[in-house]
Amino acid sequence: MHSLRVPSPSEHLDTLARRPSVNAPAGARARGPYSSFVSSARLGRSFAAATDVAPREGEWELVGAGGLPAGLRRDAMPRHVAVIMDGNARWARRRGLPAAAGHEAGVRSLRELIDLCREWGIGVLTVFAFSSENWVRPKAEVQFLMGLFERVIKMELENFMRDGVKICLIGDSLKLPKSLQKVFVDAEEMTKNNSRLQLIVAVSYSGKHDIVQACKTIAHKVKDGHLELEDISEGLIEQELETSCSEYPCPDLLIRTSGELRLSNFMLWQLAYAELFFVPALWPDFGKAEFMEALLSYQQRQRRYGTRVS
């Protein structure tokens, strides 16, 4: 696992970036804290106190070099994991830092997650980096984020090539600065033959807009006589979604950090049967332990797709 460093004006961020484990009770079914929301009579959100809990070093040990940690089954690993990386600004606010510091810390978490997905055999990782609704944020923050995306992709390109990571962008790229558009286009081109992990980055993305643009395309095919009305099908819509760039367009597992319990207009179609895992930890605090918990929870769930499993 290579060491990755973000050049940051505030070097002390490295010391502040801790990823304490979520306190999962021993022996409890790892299902995420909100699955027994009411039965535990615990009302309201419970946040992992980011700086209060020391990281549990060595809690999840690898079984053999490059193997999965104990408890995880290779045959039950999700093929596609999606993540809503929520909580950077809150993380920074709690430390009296500007939002930019939170986003920088978030980049570290993302790097770790990419490495883990690659090592543990997950084929596709989709990250919700910037929503179409995020454009209403303060201009300075938006500009910073655009600059951060550009900087990180340029810096990581070499690592992506070495590690076999293929990068794809989904979202309304027209709204992005021209320089960032070009960086993404170049990165997609350079990494298009990589096959170890596909990293789909959703920037200026809206799940509804994704569906609408697919439907518009289909509507024009109907209008032009290339398709009959009766031929419009679920498969056709799925083919026209932006995630058709992937062999596995539908996530098996969605993780959302920061305790929010909703999808926020992310991959609405694609998440129809995804297992949802809501984590109280803020994104910069999301690390190996939290990812393990999410995967364990996923592997314990019984996915029925509406049928009956006896």
């Binding site: 009302l43 509507a219 009305l229 419009i232 995804a274």
Partner: protein
């Protein structure tokens, strides 16, 4: 004597319960009450197994639980309730179970329409949401009868999703939208044909300079060699006598109907300008345009009124059209989604409508769900209300 005292004791307890519940709801009403709650009623069979009951009895217990929950919600002031009763995927279950559920549905619909039922108590309007054509005639007739009988009610609304998936709802909405637009276009063309019969004749072949390029004006039978718009293609409406496959600079030619020699040079200059700005790039042969992703990502492009510039074509359908034709267009989006039995997934339920709705997953199986689960969810909703509303407004 013993029976009488135990009966009056239980009656007393019930009265106390009702009083306490009314007081509790009054306190809750000081905060925001969700307008619309959606339930995924999961866990009936597991409940039956747990209680050593026959499988079908689990569904009956689930129905009782539904009636209780409806009472609580409507008493609290919730106006819309949506329940996921039967998914299209559920048809894949054992035929006996499917038949049992259909029979139960007919029986319960009949019960709901009787005098003194919860429907009359709360002035409830019933909607059966889904692809009702997939249901047997008996069930479909019962559902339609119930919708008709309650159409005049307006105090509360119960939406029962049966033979439903979000995928099917969206496909249906797209089909309906396309059909509506095609009918509008046909009607428009018919009236235009009446007004401008000489101009309309072979309009797509009349290509000298300025040319009407609204794709919606071109009826299917008049379009020649139209290129389908895909992710990396350009849609053209009408052509000159140039063949679609002919290219000097393939894609560009097709993008500029009304092409003639003089205009080509101007277009080429425009393209060079866009090349230098990075909005388009040339292909490996240095001539053809390999990708015009930024221009295309907005949708179709067309030639402008001057026959030169490339402009955006109005899309055939848009978000408003799709939403209008959704089965769930009769209700606002849910404020809350509750799925029982601890499973945390949507299972193809209201995907379009729940983008901003928090999902709660109490561990209780559906027949075990009760007042305190509802109270806990509503309290959590109230605590985060202003934040949720802010996020909804931004969407």
């Amino acid at each position: 004597m013993g029976n009488e005292s135990s009966w009056s004791g239980s009656q007393c307890l019930s009265t106390l319960n009702n009083f306490f519940r009314k007081y509790l709801f009054r306190v809750l009403s000081c905060g925001a009450i969700p307008t619309h709650i959606a339930f995924i009623m999961d866990g009936n069979r597991r409940f039956a197994k747990k209680q050593n009951m026959v499988e079908g009895e689990g569904h009956r217990a689930g129905y009782k639980s539904l009636i209780s929950m409806l009472n609580y919600c409507y008493e609290l002031g919730v106006k819309y309730i949506t329940v996921y009763a039967f998914s299209i995927e559920n048809f894949k279950r054992k035929p006996e179970e499917v038949q049992y559920l259909m029979d139960l549905m007919v029986e319960k619909i009949d019960e709901l329409l009787r005098e003194g039922s919860i429907v009359n108590q709360y002035g409830m309007r019933l909607y059966f949401i889904g692809n009702l054509k997939l249901l047997s005639e008996e069930v479909r007739t019962a559902a339609e009868k119930a919708m008709k009988a309650t159409a005049h009610n307006n105090r509360t609304v119960l939406l029962i999703c049966v033979a439903y998936t979000s995928y099917d709802e969206i496909v249906h909405a797209v089909q309906e939208s396309c059909e509506e637009k095609m009918n509008n276009i046909q009607a428009e063309n018919t009236s235009k044909a009446g007004r401008n019969s000489t101009e309309q004749n072979g309009s797509c072949e009349k290509m000298n300079g300025v040319h009407p390029h609204e794709i919606q004006d071109c009826h299917k039978r008049e379009v020649h060699g139209t290129v389908i718009l895909g992710k990396n293609e350009i849609c053209c409406n009408g052509f000159s006598k140039l063949e679609a496959s002919e290219k000097k600079n393939g894609v560009i030619k097709r993008a500029v109907p009304g092409f003639n020699g003089e205009k080509w040079n101007e277009v080429q200059q425009s393209m060079q300008s866009q090349l230098s700005k990075g909005t388009i790039e040339s292909g490996e042969d240095g001539e053809t345009i390999q990708e015009i992703k930024p221009l295309l990502s907005k949708g179709t492009i067309e030639s402008g009124e001057d026959g030169e510039t490339i402009q955006e074509i109005k899309p055939l359908i848009n978000l408003v059209d799709i939403e209008k034709h959704m089965y769930m267009a009769v209700a606002p989006d849910p404020d809350i989604v509750i799925r029982s039995s601890g499973e945390t997934r949507l299972s193809n339920f209201l995907l379009w409508q729940t983008g901003y709705s928090p999902l709660y997953s109490p561990a209780a199986l559906w027949p075990e769900i009760g007042l305190w689960h509802l109270v806990g969810v509503v309290l959590h909703y109230q605590r985060n209300y202003s934040y949720l509303q802010k996020k909804r407004k931004q969407s």
